[in-house]
Symmetry: C2
Subunit: 409 residues, 2 copies
């Protein structure tokens, strides 16, 4: 049985690591700058096999990872072509219009800054000619069809070659200072929930608790939330995506929080399902089973790392947790995946689910493990922690430190 | 000269309209439901000329406008194919996976809900066959190139036809209850700034004021902010995009706020440049000139509407304001456009700028008029109001009610 914590035994903010200092942030920034040449190398190493001379990128997280130029969440929608970039064998070119020139120069000292045109196609021929490219790899799952066609028409002698998933695969393998930032983001989220606990009382609305949690994250050491916090009471928790409503916390019903923080660009993601007043026997049993499913997946990872065995695939690990719930047989297992990689994006590679690709998990990496049981019209339980996996370093660690005990508020 | 307001003469929250009641929100929701058949009609009316049988859409604002199904900001990134939709001559089909089935059914009573597949291409042949379509118009500026190719390969007998800008053009022309909601979002923003005024004191950081302003908007009647509020002190105000920093408010320097609210899906956007302590002569003259440029554009609209003349193009109206600053000759005019349409998105049609298309502005509509003067390394001034334009109704109205006087805090 999971331990029960309530009253004076509840977690407190001081149980978790303090927010990073500005010195720490400066060291992370320096580490990124030092790491960037090593991030560009695997990209360029793929050029020969794909028979391309250059790569054209346009996801803001790829931009930050490879060049250092940083756009905020959603800022790409108003930035025009600013932040789109071209990597050739010898050069990195970042587009930036007059609003962004200063910033781009400061953040990407190694890159050539080119005036970002209003219309990419108009600038395309000169841009690719400036690096002598004849075949350019372009992110085909990101660039819209209409823009693609305009690039082809603007420079008919330059072939536009579809590229998918390269940077995503590279970003799945994390440097130690990337993992440190995910851990720091976990600690900000842990503290925020611990601070919120006294306010989770009958009568509080989902909406107000979610807003308060967001406020605690954003004033507690994070530069942003990772995504809009979810707060779901009782049967609402059975809808895995649900947005906060005006429904109120009430005794005897669960409260599910799904939320995360962003620290120095890197994100966390956690879910806790809390009990308001003494939980009933069925609800305790559901919670216990979800916790067992989560533990089974983590145990499996530890066994692989300790025994120096091949790492499981994301699909296999999903199966390990899923079979615990299916084998028990009392309630249906979660319909979503077991988890997802996390870093500059909340959802990134690797993917852990029934539909995930075969092949062992990458390492070192970090991902969520978040099994759940959802009983429509009744209740829902999900427990989500971030797990650091470093096979070569012999490490399988929970970065989420908030306890998984049964918490009664 | 613009009037100067300070001390007891400053705007107060009670000067502006109260947030909408839940009854008002319910009436807006009913009005939307009643308006939707009329929104689908112009879309279907275009089918014959484009020789298509159906339209496939995937922008969340188009989805809400045409079907009622509502995804939050950024939610489309984790919703998979849920919220993508197909409109044929006789039917509306909305994709929704298990997480969204209940919501989609509730919000789009007239639509057929189809289980949203993980991979659109896998479901494409059956989806288009279910409405008997052989040529399907698809949003070419939104769908990625790779997905487009997969749709073509999945159903080779179905032609995928590039469509751009149809719904954008329809959405530029606003129904009266859409305009009411933009006005309500303006009032929430007006009140929030009036509430913030006493906190704008030397020593307060840009970051803290922006966060406080966001909090006031989100607890003051809006369900969301329209975008991250901007707060820029002194020379920072010369960077038209700039994000809030830890720089502090100081006497003798301006503070520029650019922010907006979202009420019942519709957004506002306003900019005010305030003075901390008595402004110098040069700064007053800059402010005065920007205010004159803005007024000139509004006067021009009024002259057209009053005189029953053709409406100007967005390009012409930009020229009217720009020439006021250029004609004065002391400082350079803004490098950005004069303004932009607003509604379900912060930036939508019509566009008002030197590069905008010719052709008269749509009507009834709403857009920003936001000239500025930016003196690099010194200061910046922008004044932005939302203007309702209804030529047939003889109306040109500022929806932003916060005064444009020189405000000294």
């Amino acid at each position: 049985m999971a331990a029960v914590r309530d009253g004076a035994g509840l977690p407190e903010p001081a149980d978790f690591a303090a927010p990073p200092t500005s010195d720490q942030r400066a060291r992370w920034s320096d580490a990124d700058a030092a790491a960037r040449p090593g991030r560009l190398a695997p990209l360029r190493a793929r050029f020969a096999a794909a028979d391309i001379d250059a790569y054209f990128g346009l996801r803001r997280q790829h931009l930050r990872y490879l060049t250092g130029f940083t756009l905020g969440e959603g800022e790409e929608k108003v930035a025009g072509t600013s932040g789109q970039f071209l990597v050739s064998g010898g050069e990195v070119i970042v587009l930036a219009d007059s609003r962004y020139t200063l910033q781009a120069g400061r953040e990407t000292p190694g890159a050539r800054i080119v005036e970002g045109p209003r219309d990419l196609a108009a600038a395309w021929p000169a841009l690719v000619a400036s690096v002598g490219a004849r075949r350019v790899g372009v992110e085909a799952s990101l660039l819209p069809y209409a823009t693609w066609r305009r690039l082809e028409a603007a420079a008919p002698e330059v072939e536009v070659v579809p590229i998918e998933g390269w940077i995503e695969a590279d970003r799945a393998i994390k440097e130690s200072t990337e993992l440190d930032r995910v851990a720091a983001a976990c600690a900000v989220a842990d503290r925020a929930l611990a601070t919120l606990l006294p306010k989770i009382r009958p009568g509080a609305t989902e909406h107000d608790l979610a807003l308060e949690l967001e406020w605690l994250i954003r004033t507690g050491g994070a530069e942003a939330i990772a995504f809009e916090p979810t707060c779901l009471v009782g049967a609402n928790a059975a809808l895995p995506h649900g947005a906060p409503s005006d429904d109120v916390v009430r005794a005897g019903a669960v409260v599910l929080f799904d939320f995360g923080a962003e620290v120095a660009g890197y994100r966390s993601d956690m879910t806790r399902t809390l009990f308001v007043g003494e939980p009933g026997e069925r609800d305790l049993a559901v919670y216990e089973l979800v916790a067992r499913a989560q533990k089974a997946a983590i145990d499996q990872l530890e066994a692989c790392v300790d025994g120096d065995l091949a790492l499981p695939s994301g699909r296999d690990l999903d199966g390990v947790a899923r079979r615990v719930i299916e084998g028990d047989g009392r309630w249906p297992a979660y319909g979503h995946g077991l988890g997802h990689g996390i870093g500059l994006q909340t959802h990134e590679q690797p993917s852990l689910g029934a539909w995930s690709l075969d092949g062992p998990l990458p390492s070192p990496t970090v991902f969520s493990i978040e099994p759940g049981i959802y009983l429509e019209g009744e209740t829902g339980v999900r427990i989500e922690d971030l797990i650091l996996l470093d096979a070569a370093g012999g490490r399988v660690e929970r970065l989420t430190q908030f306890p998984r005990d049964v918490i009664v508020v």
